[in-house]
C-alpha cells in the first residue's frame, strides 16, 4: 500500500504544480497517471507546440513546461504510479481514502485531488463489427510487450507516428508485418516515413495503401482480416494472428465518472468560492476537469486552483492549527530530500 498525504490523479501541469504547493506546507504527494510519462495532454498531444499564456514566459514549449515543473517539484519527492488508471475510491471511517488502480495498486491518502484534465486517454477504436469480441483475442490497441508478437503475423493500421514506429520495430520481431493505411501519405516524423519506405523495399514491411481493415474473422481468436479498397469496391482477406489498430488516443472521463461525484458537462462540479472541493468531502477537483460558474480551462487557472486546494487539505489535516502564508523568497524552500533553496543573504561589510 502506497501511503501519502495528497493523492493526485493526473500528472498534467496542474497536478505537478500541486506537488510544489503541497511541499511548501510539508505535505507529501503521490501521482497516478494512465500514460507512461508525466505531462498529460502537453506531452501526449502537443509536446512541441508553444504556449503563450503562462505568466512570465513569453513562449514556452509544452514539453519544456513539463520538464520545468518536474525540476521545480523534484525536492518534494513526489511518487508516481504511471501507466495505471485510478479505478476505485473508498472513503474510510477516519476520513482518509484508498484509491485502487486498474492494475490493483492501492494508495492510501488523507485527501484526493483529481487533476485529470480531459480524463484518461483511451485508444480511438475503429468502427468494425465485432471489434470488442476480439479485444485481448488478437486485437491490441497498444504494443505493451513486443515479445507477444514474436514470430507472429501482424496487421497494423493507422497513418501516424505510432503506426509507423511500431511497424518498424516489430518488423524485426514478428514473422510478418502488414501496414494498412487509408492514404498513400503518412503523417509522421520524416525519418520514420523514410525507414518504412526502406523496409518496404527490403520486403520486411508489407505496405498496403490506400486500404482499410473492415472486417475481422476467427472463431476464438483473430485469424484473418478483410481489407477494403476504394470504399469497398474490392476486398481482400489476409491471414493474421494479430490486428493492431493505432489511431491515437482520446481522453474520456473514465472510471471517475462512477465515483459519486457531481458531474456537469463532462466535468466535476466544485466549490470555487472556497477550495475546489467536490461533493465528497476530502476529494478535490482542480484544473480542466472541474467546472464552476465562470470556469476557464487554462493552465494558469489550474495552478491557482491547485494552490488553494493544498491550503484546504492542510487545514483539513491539521484542524485549528495556526498557519501564516510564507513567501518562498523570504523563507526559502526546504525539500524533503534535505536540500534547501534560499535567497542569497546580503553581505554586511564595511567599506574602507
Amino acid at each position: 500500500m502506497i501511503e501519502t498525504d495528497i493523492l493526485i490523479i493526473g500528472a498534467g501541469p496542474t497536478g505537478l504544480f500541486a506537488v510544489f504547493e503541497a511541499g511548501l506546507l510539508k505535505l507529501r504527494c503521490h501521482i497516478i497517471d494512465g500514460l507512461p510519462q508525466p505531462g498529460g495532454q502537453l506531452t501526449e498531444l502537443y509536446p512541441k507546440k508553444p504556449i503563450f499564456d503562462i505568466p512570465g514566459y513569453p513562449s514556452v514549449g509544452a514539453a519544456e513546461l513539463i520538464d520545468n515543473l518536474m525540476e521545480q517539484i523534484k525536492q518534494f519527492e513526489p511518487g508516481f504510479t504511471l501507466n495505471e488508471v485510478a479505478e476505485n475510491i473508498e472513503k474510510l471511517e477516519d476520513g482518509t481514502f484508498i484509491v485502487t488502480t486498474n492494475k490493483g495498486t492501492q494508495h492510501h491518502a488523507k485527501a484526493v485531488a483529481i487533476a485529470g484534465g480531459l480524463g484518461s486517454f483511451e485508444p480511438r477504436k475503429p468502427v468494425i463489427e465485432g471489434l470488442n469480441f476480439y479485444e485481448d483475442k488478437g486485437v491490441e490497441y497498444f504494443v505493451k510487450n513486443p515479445e507477444q508478437f514474436r514470430d507472429k503475423n501482424i496487421v497494423i493500421s493507422g497513418g501516424g507516428d505510432s503506426a509507423l514506429d511500431w511497424s518498424i520495430f516489430l518488423s524485426d520481431v514478428a514473422k510478418s508485418v502488414t501496414l494498412v493505411h487509408r492514404r498513400n501519405e503518412f503523417r509522421g516524423a520524416l525519418d520514420s516515413v523514410e525507414k518504412v519506405q526502406e523496409l518496404k523495399h527490403q520486403g520486411k514491411i508489407n505496405l498496403i495503401t490506400p486500404a482499410e481493415v473492415t472486417e475481422i474473422h476467427g472463431n476464438e481468436h483473430v485469424e484473418a482480416v478483410t481489407l477494403s479498397f476504394d470504399g469497398g469496391v474490392s476486398t481482400q482477406i489476409i491471414k493474421t494472428d494479430y490486428f493492431i489498430p493505432l489511431f491515437g488516443l482520446t481522453p474520456k472521463l473514465g472510471p471517475i465518472a462512477n465515483w459519486g461525484l457531481e458531474i456537469e458537462k463532462n466535468a466535476i462540479k466544485v466549490n470555487n468560492a472556497l477550495d475546489y472541493q467536490t461533493n465528497i468531502e476530502g476529494v478535490y477537483a482542480i484544473g480542466d476537469i472541474n467546472t464552476y460558474p465562470g470556469k476557464l480551462k487554462l493552465i494558469l487557472c489550474g495552478f491557482h486552483e491547485a494552490t488553494l486546494m493544498c491550503q484546504s487539505v492542510y487545514n483539513r489535516i491539521n484542524p485549528g492549527k495556526k498557519y501564516v502564508l510564507k513567501y518562498t523568497t523570504v523563507s526559502g524552500i526546504d525539500g524533503f530530500d534535505g536540500t534547501r533553496k534560499e535567497a542569497e543573504k546580503a553581505v554586511v561589510k564595511a567599506i574602507d
Partner: protein, 111 residues
C-alpha cells in the same frame, strides 16, 4: 453588424441557425461550443489544433460558400478519423468569415 448566419445540424439531427460573429477570431468548432450544440467534452478536445477530429462535420452546401482549403494538418487528421466522407471538414479549421455566410454543416457522430 458583423454577424453571419450558419446552420448547424447537431448530433441528434436538430437544425439550428445561429448568428456567428466574424470579428472574434472564431472558428466553427468554437461556434458550436459557444451555442452548446454538442456536449462539452465531446467536441474541441484538442482545443483546435486539428489533432483529434472531435469537431468533424459534413459540409452540406460547399458550392454556395467559399471555404478555406484544407491545410496539411487537417488533411492528415481526416485520413485517420472515423466516419469520414467526401465532404468532411474539421470545424476548428474553418474560420468564421463573411465568405461562409449561409454555411450549412452537420456534426459527425461522437467517437
Amino acid at each position: 453588424m458583423s454577424d453571419i448566419k450558419i446552420t448547424i445540424i447537431d448530433r441528434e439531427g436538430a437544425e439550428h441557425t445561429v448568428d456567428a460573429p466574424t470579428d472574434m477570431n472564431m472558428n466553427v468548432m468554437e461556434l458550436v461550443r459557444a451555442y452548446e450544440l454538442a456536449e462539452e467534452g465531446t467536441i474541441g478536445i484538442c482545443g483546435g489544433m486539428a489533432m483529434c477530429a472531435s469537431c468533424q462535420c459534413y459540409v452540406l452546401n460547399e458550392d454556395e460558400v467559399s471555404l478555406v482549403e484544407k491545410n496539411p494538418d487537417e488533411e492528415a487528421m481526416l485520413w485517420e478519423a472515423f466516419n469520414v466522407k467526401e465532404n468532411s471538414r474539421l470545424g476548428c479549421q474553418i474560420p468564421i468569415t463573411p465568405e461562409i455566410e449561409g454555411l450549412r454543416i452537420e456534426l459527425a457522430p461522437e467517437v
